[in-house]
Assembly symmetry: D2
Homo-oligomer: 372 residues x 4
Amino acid sequence: MTRPTIGVGMLGYGFMGRAHTNALRKIGYISWPPPADIRLVAIAGRTESHVLGAAERFGFQRAVTDWHELIDDPEIQLFDNLGPNSLHAEPTVAAARAGKHVVCEKPLARTAQEAHEVWQAVAAAGVKHLCAFNYRFVPAVRLARQMIEAGELGEIHHFRSSYLQDWLVDPAAPATWRLDVNQAGSGALGDLGAHVIDQARYLVGEIRAVSGRLKTFVPERDGTPVTVDDAFEAVIEFSTGAVGTIEASRFAAGRKNALTWEINGSRGSLAFDLERLNELQISTGRQGFTRRLVTEATDPYLSLWWPDGHIIGWEHTFVHELHHILQAIVYDQPIRPHGADFEDGYRAAEVCDAIIRSNASGRREPVSYRTL
Amino acid sequence: MTRPTIGVGMLGYGFMGRAHTNALRKIGYISWPPPADIRLVAIAGRTESHVLGAAERFGFQRAVTDWHELIDDPEIQLFDNLGPNSLHAEPTVAAARAGKHVVCEKPLARTAQEAHEVWQAVAAAGVKHLCAFNYRFVPAVRLARQMIEAGELGEIHHFRSSYLQDWLVDPAAPATWRLDVNQAGSGALGDLGAHVIDQARYLVGEIRAVSGRLKTFVPERDGTPVTVDDAFEAVIEFSTGAVGTIEASRFAAGRKNALTWEINGSRGSLAFDLERLNELQISTGRQGFTRRLVTEATDPYLSLWWPDGHIIGWEHTFVHELHHILQAIVYDQPIRPHGADFEDGYRAAEVCDAIIRSNASGRREPVSYRTL
Amino acid sequence: MTRPTIGVGMLGYGFMGRAHTNALRKIGYISWPPPADIRLVAIAGRTESHVLGAAERFGFQRAVTDWHELIDDPEIQLFDNLGPNSLHAEPTVAAARAGKHVVCEKPLARTAQEAHEVWQAVAAAGVKHLCAFNYRFVPAVRLARQMIEAGELGEIHHFRSSYLQDWLVDPAAPATWRLDVNQAGSGALGDLGAHVIDQARYLVGEIRAVSGRLKTFVPERDGTPVTVDDAFEAVIEFSTGAVGTIEASRFAAGRKNALTWEINGSRGSLAFDLERLNELQISTGRQGFTRRLVTEATDPYLSLWWPDGHIIGWEHTFVHELHHILQAIVYDQPIRPHGADFEDGYRAAEVCDAIIRSNASGRREPVSYRTL
Amino acid sequence: MTRPTIGVGMLGYGFMGRAHTNALRKIGYISWPPPADIRLVAIAGRTESHVLGAAERFGFQRAVTDWHELIDDPEIQLFDNLGPNSLHAEPTVAAARAGKHVVCEKPLARTAQEAHEVWQAVAAAGVKHLCAFNYRFVPAVRLARQMIEAGELGEIHHFRSSYLQDWLVDPAAPATWRLDVNQAGSGALGDLGAHVIDQARYLVGEIRAVSGRLKTFVPERDGTPVTVDDAFEAVIEFSTGAVGTIEASRFAAGRKNALTWEINGSRGSLAFDLERLNELQISTGRQGFTRRLVTEATDPYLSLWWPDGHIIGWEHTFVHELHHILQAIVYDQPIRPHGADFEDGYRAAEVCDAIIRSNASGRREPVSYRTL
């Protein structure tokens, strides 16, 4: 048992930092044997006192306030970027060029152009790259993918999905970097919609055209202009001919973290709700939907966990995701198809940009994807 | 108690004929005292043996194979048109011009132009006119309207709705008049989508722009070309600034009669599912949705029925709807706002036409409404 | 087509009178051809003005204040007893002895002894007898029975059922005859529990022992002592060895008409909720429950109604039930197994009495059934 | 920040060992600052190779095959007993007598007598003791307790609960120690029913009488007699006058880990389902149940976790539970009322024994509780 050790450098220490660290610490005993031993080498953040506290709490060996130190650290083999969207491109590219494998939170970048540049640079560096569309790693979502691949739904006709939250419906909710186009790129679209788009691509296939509408309901908060969308709506078409609607909003009163989708095929349908992420609704006969608890040992990722019927939580998606890239690194396996790599990150950004273009032009916009 | 008697002439004897007749027969003892005594005067249909059988079964005094006989019959004060879409305009207009009040099934006509002509002619005749958007008469839907009018949801931001059925997902399903553009005008759009559009208009307000996509998955059945849509998808914008997605499909495997919608406002949200039409999901605090059984005696239309918790069915919407027009006739009350009149029928047709235009043009299409 | 005419005499004109009349009036056109033409001959009630109004509204030819007039009326072939429990035995027996077929609302009588006497007398008269356990006529319930008979659940191990309402939880709710042991026999037990017991017997089989507890939470209302139970709980054992719990309460805040049950067998499980009576939850694989909408044309009783997915209501159970006895009369068919006859009414009363005995004795009480 | 260090010795290394270890490892960074630093000192198990593997995986400093070594180890301050029921009493008492704080999995012992002895011995030792009824630590359950204590439900009338699993419904399922009365004490009763009883006691109050029935459907597996119950059913009465039904089964086809309960009070009702443990169904008005996602930062235990709407899993209950006893140890706080101590473990055993007595006697059995 000569397991390799992989050193991790992390940029960001908010709740995503906590979620990723938790995953990295659990892999060592939840998956057994783990693909590698994890060393939490260093964590970077702007505010010294905060990042020092995070390092102590999460168990990183050291804290730094300049992310370049992570790039220069030879003990770090995996760079995990959880910073705000405006800090995705530069550090991630730098890390890859320094030979480190990279994880980057979604959206990969603020625009498709920026995302393409990141993908190009990172691919050229020859490292493993994963864009953290963690909802691919929900067992029910991967089970859905498996069923669709196996033809259990037949030809897919429809995909409809919403990602609904309510934290901006209060007009007094404060301004944050997420409401500033320069820092975030877009609003509900890039933050929540990117997940919807990635689910669509993972489960149904490539999106070839969109007709979209963005909406900002509250144009100013705390005296600061809101320069991103509060919500978007779009009709989409897939290369396969399937059609659907997608949507995200931070103004859906009573909805907390409601990423839902339904897929209808010629032989059956599936439905999912992130607030009940242990369940997949399956209709493969003529008669109604079966509430399938995706908690069997034979279900995707469930061999890591508990007996049948003992549910897992949101944080577990990160365990599966980071376990996936560790396996990819150690055994030199591809990130795709079950993980999203930076090409997936880039492609989601192209769809987001097409929705923004459609909003402005009033036209159905084709989505064209660049290669490397 | 000198109740008036209202004679009814009906065009059509399929399941809608059964549903309307059932309603007309029940009004006399379910609402008490009823606004009028109903006389089932005559029923018209193409096939003599069928229409004779229907008259006997439903209790009409006579059966005719030429609908003009209904127009000429002085005993008929209310003309109820349940024929195929291509038979909506001419008989309805003729009846109105003969001084009869008119009910016409939805969609009012095959195109907005045709619908406008019907509305114009009927309005000029000075009779009561109701377009049978019966889902306005679901108690939960009317309760939703009341809550929205009372401001319980605040300003409305989102409306999303689908009407999903699965009867065409089988490629061997036979051709019917509903799949022929000349007889039906459109497919899922006019048949199911018209309900969605009417719910949007009844609950949220006027639609001012649409970006739509039609889709025909199976282009030919029984050797006959399918000349209508199997499904449509659209992004819509309301005059108020609210935005949303609407959709209808006859290709949604496992969905039988699933008209669902959700409305999000600045103070709360509502959700509805026609397959559970006795329930309204209400979120007016910060915390989740309440499954409200709309079966209290004080709920809309429920004083007609049973004790709390004793549910009603789909057919009851027709009792409420026909009771509504009878009251309008007897007491000279307006059909609006809780009933849909022919202006509502026309306006829904304008939205449908705009979706068809948008599908062809690839553009977001404004919806403009003509007056009389 | 020489359909017989069956004259009906009804005792009682409250909401049950409305429900039964509605059913009798609908049978003539909903089932086609109906087994008989119905003549609403006479309705009886204590208060002259009320019963006159009911006769006019419901369409009975005459109103009487003495139920004996119904017995003496040769035009009446079917006597439908909807009176309070204390008026079940004498008029029903009298009608049967006069050669009339009889329907009697549940519970058949106030005690097992009284129920046995009624059953004996009526059986001796040779007429058709039906005890109005109308929930046997919910399509989902009959489908459940069919699935169990076909062995789809294997050997039954468990039955658990509650019938929960909330109308007495308010301590200021007024006293009614339902709270008086002399008029009602028992409280939640005979009113709601009798339905639970009948469902158990219809779906699983004979009950052989009970351990029960009665409870009266509010001992006095309007200065009148409450002499019946507000709720009961029991453990039951079936002759087959299956075990379960049953319960009814009028003190379940938030529950309006919640008759629910779940049945677990060696090969599968079923679950039902009367507030969603169009649905049956079915688990016959290893994986979760399927929400089956019991609205297909091939489902029990559904050929009478509407296209797939168009739900029916509570009142429809009476249409099915009265249609059933009319067929039994006209074609001389047995009421059993899908209808409950007076033996079923008597047997339910035996179980109720055993629960009352068990409550008093503190012992598990065997249930023994007398024959004719 | 001079945090104490607490050394843990664990008996058992199966899935409960994994669940407890996971919790102990997470406390150090999920709660911040944690009440103590945890040292995983030693783990004991019968099979050397297995326990060595577990120690390596879970991170214990050493593995032992004789639990007495844990008792003698001065580095251990907390003894966590996850062994089979027959190994609860002796090691736990020995650990307490050696001055170690103790956690013991439920049921505390195989009989009330044995449980009382354990409680007595441990209480006399003056250490902290917690019986691992981990479902008290579900946020929704603790929220329910808080609502009930605050009077939001008024006076409680009803408690009904089932704990349903299906892993024995297959007659070919193998024999395990759980089916042997000497090792397990009882079957579904002590394993699942104990949780139900503890929820009843935690939420409603003390149980004073039971009428119960045990059932063994498959009397032999693998040629070994099954000497425990496969299921039990009981009517219960609380000291307060509330009544209810409780039940557990390993024969409920389609139910995986379905601990459900409903509580009805004079002012409202609550309902819970462990398979959807992030939700509490709340009815405090007259109108239906609200699906409350218990994932707000202000909800019990949720300050440890993620933003609103991001659900947690089954394993999190152990984090809360072990965090609770660590706080109790470090700050010398009581385990009760939110944790279950050994008196609670003993009292649950008294209820189990009374159900067994009632099954044999056929009588309603009072439950009397001994003091120290």
